[in-house]
Amino acid sequence: MNSTTMPMTAHAAQAAARVERLLAHPRVADWVLLKGLGRLLVNHEPSAVASLRTSLLKMGASSLPAAALPAMAKVLTVTRRMHEGALSAAREGRPVAWITWPVPAAVVAAFPVLVYCPENFYSVANASGGDGSTRLCELADRHGVPTDICSINRCMLGAFLGDELPPPQLCITANHPCDGNHAGNTILRELAPCPHFSMGAAYDRSPQSVATWARSVWEMIAFLETQLQQPIDWLAVERHARLINRLNKALNHVTELHRNAPAPRLINALAVFWRMVAAAAWEPELADGAELLEEAAVSLVERARRKKAPREPLRVVLGDQAITWTDFSAWIWEEYSGSVVSDYIGHFCHPPIDTSSKESMIEGLVLDRLHMSMIRQSHGTMEYTLDELTTALSEYDADCVLFHGNVGCKHNLALRREIEALCRSIGIPALFLDADIVDRRLIGEQALRQKIKKFLADEGLPR
């Protein structure tokens, strides 16, 4: 395989490199990228820079404070390296291990193999234009992938069928936390011509479930050692765990700082980190970037306090999975001077990993993965979702909550009645958008914005 068979990844690598170069000069980047292009792209989609639009909106575009740019530069470095690694591994035939989100990837990364998370491909696809993930869903449709499967997984399968993924030597999947993952992985294992390991699912975060999951990880280690003919590098596992602890500590704090009014407006930055955490949480630059983001958040909160900055007129909670092909933060900022103060994805609340023994590290890495956004809310009983939402609505001083209402997400759809009741009881208006978060064919950006506008007007928001 050569790199031309992975055009989306090649494009994403080039785009990441360009933005990374620009971010090396934060002041210029602030003017050109955020205040200039970022502001323009909120309401326009010029074809010349269409491929940059989604990536910029995801970073927050004009709503992202300049103080966050050094942190973003670090994430971009890891992103570029991940894309380039995938391209070169495909070109040179180096071993690649596919993993899915819930797999404690830091353990796999302690083997001499490139860790690649195909589930993340929607973000690669959308880095080549806002309809990249939609095109991959269409491709999956054409190959008979059932539309009952969540579009995140259909997009991943479309990427495979379109030769957009580096060929795997191993495939490690966890049929967790939802049917979408389970179904997508079933097809992925069938299509990927390599040995695969399927991890079981811990339903909740009880000590018994965590112990079960940890035993599954020990089985995975045995599988990897057999397949790669190499023992696991425990020093690397420890190094990874320590880096993840640094990363989590910083990003947990950034999340918490959004309780402040005004908030530091770094939710998008957190979500950008989340995407890389899935695939490369152990990269030192990511921990460095997280600490830079924490510094930025602290200074933004301090500055607002010093200046006695008023509360935003609109504080929004995003209550479920983000739409991958667009983003509302910059638009809410431009249109209403409002902030997103809490987000299903960009919400870090990870426990520390105990690095005192191999066993405690494995359990800690398991628990860390179970606390990763998407996985954290998707498993267990409805209280896992409702309790977190209650905290976000009541403690982050929210004015309203928007639910993208991903039509493919069966477990979230089944909570709608309870969520509506919860929002009513707290007195926070809620809007369900009924979008598809990966497949743009269902409803477009303008229609979604119209719905939000109408909802806010009906609710008398902003105050």
């Binding site: 008979g144 009952d148 339903y203 089985e219």
Partner: protein, 388 residues
């Protein structure tokens, strides 16, 4: 005097029409608490050992889903929406307890909604089931079954230990052995049993006391020993199919398939062979053995790593039943089964086995469309055969 086959099948047909709540009332009439089970992950032996009667939750005879609609979207499985309607309307009030599982998103969210809505019965238990069948998963399910035992003991007030459990395992294994004999008989070219009758048998077996189903199976096997179907000439031969499905409970749908495509002679359904085949490994401690069977029995695509074994079973069935093709039929919106069907379809086509993929919702047969597809499928097989 033993009953004739026709009499037995007629009784089965009538019995299969009995509504779900009637089974619960019958259990009470025999002084047994009734425990409803939505998926086959919960071993019936455990419920039986607790002095209760396990009854699989089926929705035939129950047409509504409106009360379930506020809790579940139109894209949720129609079984779940109906079951939730039953729970909120009081239809299940004669049940003493319900056991649900984490087998799929639909099923696990029923448990959530159940706790928050005005549902009856109030006693509901969620069984955590891993999505593979590794040793770790079996050990985890064993611990879960201990938790289920506690729930059942509290529900029935009946203490039971390993000896009671072993006795229950023995009677259910007897039922499985007899069912297997009937199932194998079905594969024969001269078997008089239709897919429709086999489905009726399976549905009845999952609703009545196991002791009674053993008697029915023994009588059926005796009646079958002398009964054969009319031989058919090769030119007018009825087509024969393997049906793979999940929760398949619509006898009318099976009748439609057999009327417009051909006879279903072998199957793998969560409500059929998948539930009733596969004995418990009695060399293991009882709880471990039950956990192992729950994950490694044939039917549920939830056990992801068992897919190859399920597919091998289909191939064996196609060969044993001299099937002309395979019909994959699933409930709409079931992502897990949709993925399984995707894999089966690819593999069957690669082997040159004709395959038809259907989907539908409980309660809406869509007869016209279904008929067209079935006839077209049958026609394509006949054309291919005649060309060959």
């Amino acid at each position: 005097m033993s009953a004739t086959l026709a009499e037995l099948l007629s009784r089965l047909e009538q019995r299969s029409r009995l509504e779900l709540n009637a089974h619960a009332r019958l259990a009470h009439a025999h002084s047994r608490p009734a425990v409803g089970v939505l998926c086959a992950f919960a071993p019936p032996e455990l419920i039986h050992a607790a002095g209760a009667q396990p009854i699989r939750i089926l929705s035939h005879g129950y047409q509504r889903a409106e009360l379930g609609n506020p809790y579940f979207a139109a894209t949720h499985c129609s079984l779940v929406r109906r079951v939730f309607d039953m729970a909120t309307s009081g239809y299940l009030a004669d049940f003493d307890g319900i056991v649900l599982s984490t087998g799929c998103d639909h099923s696990r969210r029923v448990y959530d909604a159940w706790r928050h809505a005005e549902c009856t019965p109030r006693a509901v238990h969620l069984l955590h089931v891993s999505s593979d069948s590794s040793a770790t998963a079996v050990a985890a399910l064993e611990a879960e079954l201990e938790r289920l035992s506690v729930f059942l003991r509290e529900l029935t007030g009946h203490k039971f230990g390993d000896s009671e459990l072993s006795r229950s395992i023995a009677i259910f294994d007897r039922q499985r052995t007899l069912f297997e004999a009937v199932y194998r008989h079905c594969a024969r070219l001269d078997s008089p049993l239709s897919g429709q009758q086999m489905l009726q048998l399976s549905l009845v077996m999952s609703s009545i006391p196991v002791e009674e189903s053993v008697s029915i199976l023994e009588a059926l096997l005796e009646a079958l020993s002398g009964a054969t179907a009319q031989p058919q000439s090769e030119a007018r031969r009825e087509l024969r199919f393997f049906l793979a499905s999940g929760h398949f409970e619509q006898v009318e749908r099976m009748a439609l398939i057999e009327r417009h495509a051909g006879r279903v002679v072998q199957e793998l359904m969560c409500t059929g062979a998948g539930q009733h085949l596969g004995r418990v490994d009695t060399t293991l401690p009882p709880m471990r053995a039950l956990a192992s069977r729950s994950l490694r029995r044939l039917s549920c695509p939830h056990a992801a790593d068992e897919l190859d074994r399920r597919f091998a079973f289909i191939l064996e069935g196609v060969q044993a039943g001299r099937c002309d093709g395979v019909i994959l039929d699933r409930l709409s919106f079931c992502a897990i089964w949709a993925a399984e069907a995707f894999v089966f379809r690819r593999r069957l086509r690669a082997r040159g086995i004709p395959v038809l993929e259907l989907e539908g919702e409980l309660g809406s047969l869509g007869e016209g469309q279904l008929r067209t597809r079935l006839e077209a499928f049958a026609e394509s097989i006949r054309n291919a055969t005649s060309t060959t």
